[in-house]
């Protein structure tokens, strides 16, 4: 597979059942990774989640503040209860508006804003989940010429989310967690200048 050299951002969305996969990805994370990474994970409302702490055992992950500049190699975790939007000038906007698909952060919104901001230079990955958030946004990424990937539904603890994306549009690649790890290693090498 040839990998374009010009990616600007990787956005990963996940919901129920995505934590083990995410942890596996982080464990094998290629460092240095040459583009910014944004994680949008559903967490329970009003429950102070351990997610941030849990993940950062392996690697440095921060919850961005509003208008923070996206930096290569940094991993940003969408804060609980805010939507995270990617702006065309490479900054992050947080947004405290209505829930979308019963979710805040909404994976759809982050995917969609990344597609609008960076077009074909976006990679979106949608992991396990029991709802349909992210499917529409992932299709937006694909439509804008970006790379759209779902976790192979057969390997997902909850396959509704990746399956919804596959059902909704073409041009979506399905990968097992191991394939994702290999893919990310390729990206990281390809984007090195």
């Amino acid at each position: 597979m040839t990998v374009p050299h010009s990616y600007r951002i990787l956005v990963i969305g996940g919901s129920a059942g995505s934590m083990p996969v995410l942890s596996a990805l982080m464990e094998a994370w290629p460092v240095p990774f040459h583009i910014p990474v944004v994680l949008v994970i559903h967490r329970l409302k009003n429950v102070k989640s351990e997610l941030g702490v849990l993940l950062s055992d392996h690697i440095q992950i921060t919850e961005p503040e509003d208008k923070e500049q996206l930096l290569p190699g940094h991993i940003y975790l969408a804060p609980q209860n805010y939507h995270l939007l990617i702006e065309a000038d490479g900054t992050i906007s947080l947004d405290y508006s209505e829930l979308i698909n019963f979710s805040r952060p909404s994976i759809d919104l982050s995917f969609e804003s990344a597609a609008t901001a960076f077009g074909s230079a976006v990679i979106g990955i949608l992991l396990s989940g029991a709802n349909k958030d992210g499917a529409e946004g992932l299709c937006r990424i694909a439509a804008a010429g970006g790379t759209a990937i779902v976790q192979d539904p057969a390997t997902a603890a909850f396959n509704t989310m990746p399956q919804a994306a596959l059902d909704q549009c073409a041009d979506i690649q399905s990968m097992t967690p191991d394939q994702m790890i290999r893919y990310l290693r390729n990206i990281s090498t390809a984007n090195k200048r």
Partner: protein
């Protein structure tokens, strides 16, 4: 999700609103504003941008409805209890040394933040010495804020927030329940005035010991944030307090050197002398 608006159409919409109605959204964070436009388009059932532009140009009422719809009005009483705890313990005792206290809530939405502040001041015995100026761009929000009416179903969460913020009184003493609503006691609002003020285009109108502008900056780009912080600087007494939303930052703002942090986690700053 709603259809996307092209960049050109987006720029047109912003221009129409500015030239026709004087509201300037140029320096709003574009990803979010774009989405609000699409959402409004979906809500009206209009299926093409041409019609949207046409109606905007020709129907003032349609524009008013749009303004109500595109601003993000989500708010809560005692939202971020830790912030209110710091206000209660560190800021309000300092305010007590002023013979008369002026507070500005910029972007007060439907008033929940103002009601919370009034409760804190009442509990500190300061409400009579205070004048609270609560402003917003969105007139519908202001009308609602003035009414003191909140959905009763939200009171459970707000009571919990209040207790987490260090409140020790019976929260239900602050409102009257009627059918599905809770009505904030009018006496809490005796020193509050609500009026329209646009942070983008309107000027300094008074001098304050405390300005709360929470969860408004997230809708502005850095340029606009910068301008508005200048406006706040000029509206604060020396050593006056500025409170932003928990996820908002002065870090990317040139004006930050004119402020010192009071509590960074809760985004409370103070104007230097």
């Amino acid at each position: 999700m709603v259809e996307e608006i092209s960049n050109a159409d987006f720029t047109d919409l912003v221009k129409i609103i500015q030239q026709r109605y004087g509201y300037d959204f140029t320096d709003y964070a574009s990803a979010s504003l774009k989405r609000r436009f699409s959402r409004f388009t979906g809500y009206t059932g209009i299926d093409n941008i041409f019609d949207l532009k046409h109606r905007l140009l020709n129907e003032t009422d349609f524009f008013r409805e749009m303004i109500r719809y595109i601003t993000v009005n989500v708010t809560e009483m005692f939202r971020d209890p830790s912030f209110y705890k710091v206000l209660r313990e560190q800021v309000i005792p300092r305010l007590a040394s002023y013979p008369s206290i002026k507070i500005w809530h910029a972007g007060c939405a439907t008033g929940e933040e103002v009601y919370s502040m009034a409760i804190l001041l009442q509990e500190a015995g300061l409400l009579d010495r205070c004048r609270i100026y609560a402003t917003d761009l969105n007139e519908a929000n202001l009308e609602k804020a003035e009414s003191g009416i909140i959905a009763l179903k939200d009171m459970k969460d707000y009571t919990q927030n209040y207790m987490q913020s260090g409140g020790i009184h019976d929260f239900s003493n602050y409102y009257t329940a009627r059918y599905d609503n809770a009505i904030i006691h009018p006496s809490l609002l005796r020193n509050v005035i609500f009026f329209q003020h646009n942070l983008v285009t309107d000027q300094v109108f008074n001098e304050f010991q405390l300005i709360c502008c929470r969860n408004v900056f997230i809708y502005f780009n850095r340029t606009l944030q910068e301008r508005v912080v200048k406006l706040f600087y000029e509206s604060l007494t020396s050593l006056g307090y500025l409170a932003l939303g928990i996820k908002e930052s002065l870090l990317y703002n040139e004006e930050r050197i004119k402020f010192e942090p009071v509590n960074l986690a809760n985004k409370i700053f103070r104007r230097k002398v």
